[in-house]
Subunit: 254 residues, 2 copies
Amino acid sequence: MFRLPDIIRRDRTEPLVAEICAVLRKWNIEPIPFRSQVDIQHEGDRPRSMYLIRSGWIYSYAVLADGQRQILFLHQPGDIAGLADFGAERVSCSMRSLGECVVLPIPFTAIATFSSTAPDIITYLLQKSAQMQSILMRTLTAVGRMEARHRVIWLILMLHERISGSVTTASAVIEIPFNQSEIGDLIGLTNVSVSKMLCQLSDEGFIERKGSKVLLRRVADMQAMINYEPMGFSEGSYLNLKEDYRERDAVKRI
Amino acid sequence: MFRLPDIIRRDRTEPLVAEICAVLRKWNIEPIPFRSQVDIQHEGDRPRSMYLIRSGWIYSYAVLADGQRQILFLHQPGDIAGLADFGAERVSCSMRSLGECVVLPIPFTAIATFSSTAPDIITYLLQKSAQMQSILMRTLTAVGRMEARHRVIWLILMLHERISGSVTTASAVIEIPFNQSEIGDLIGLTNVSVSKMLCQLSDEGFIERKGSKVLLRRVADMQAMINYEPMGFSEGSYLNLKEDYRERDAVKRI
DNA sequence: CGCAGATTTGAAAATCGTCAAAAACCGTGG
DNA sequence: CCACGGTTTTTGACGATTTTCAAATCTGCG
């Protein structure tokens, strides 16, 4: 164990994250730091907690019989990894850190407590879970039905949206936290295909590359090419949601 | 509109479904019947409700720019379709009935009510959402990293588990609610490939086919071939969960 | 500078898709 | 019971995309 960073920075603070942290602190649950490329949880474990990412990146993945790997989800700060295992007998996927990171374990048993004392938190978790589902569906659509070239473009646009927190058509630089083998494992290609496609996109002027940084040059063109739609939930949308509640009588209109 | 069946049969009744129905009945929300192959919701709509399946099947799907389709999820009776759109600005996928079905709309605005008056229901929804996530992850793993033959086997085993409600290694007959084009859209193949693989599996004695019915002959062999693990949540696991809550002090042990 | 890992490149092979035609299936109506 | 029309499934030839394999090159870092 190494020391925690003195200050954990979080740009886009979720409204209820602070509340969750406060409760956990009362129970003496501490954030845990991990080094890069360390398994945080392994497929087949008994589910104990989910993990609120405080800083860094984590990905969930599954390994097949023949050793192939599918990366299922890239978790960012503010995300809750392992939510899918709530209520399961066995953990369905492994989780690994991408770079150094700090995570706060939220034991599943806490959900019962939240349920009676802080229903807002459960509602928040439900919304987070729904967002993850949407992203998974997007990934499945890309992997199942796009050719290699479009999958790579999809990946770039998706990372752009998730990392920057919004969609723009302006040029932007993103840092891709994966190497090319990992990219392949995420979108169902080999590292060789990923390399070829990235080079091709670079040759054609869609992107420029420097190490793991990618400059998106023709975002609008790429979005048009694969019909990319923004995911439609930015941080803070929970607040909007709360406002919507006021039109409760809408229920009657169904 | 045609008449509702007099009795809606449900074999595996979820513990909290009755409670949800009771609340909705008080709000005069009625189950809606749909004919076969009808769109219940369309991508881009404003999210209004989720849909509790009372009988029949529904699938969620997305359509790409070039007209290709990815089927994202097969919803069974007891499932809640559209949960992924909770909190989103726009609905992320379309939903279509597979055969006649009856569906109870649950307006998203109801979640606020549940949150304050029936936190158990929100917790239940959270668990349902988690289960859907697990299934999506399984699908993504199959589509992203398995060859065609293994994908078809995966599909058969998955349907077997979901339709029968449990995993066995004994032979069993299942009725596949999809045609081969739809199967292809679910696992990322063409109808032609699906046909070839099904014929091949039949020739090799793994399955026997009669119309849309499939007899699984060598379940254990097929499970071994693709390392199929059961999903690990049967109906009623919510009860187990409640019991787990008693070991609340486990929280301290993290 | 040298090493280890990551990326690029090219040729050959395998898988899967496309296309088109034939066959099978299914419900309907005579 | 059989004929009919529409849909679904099967089949085979061919082509395109992606993988595999292997070697070369590049990069970051001590």
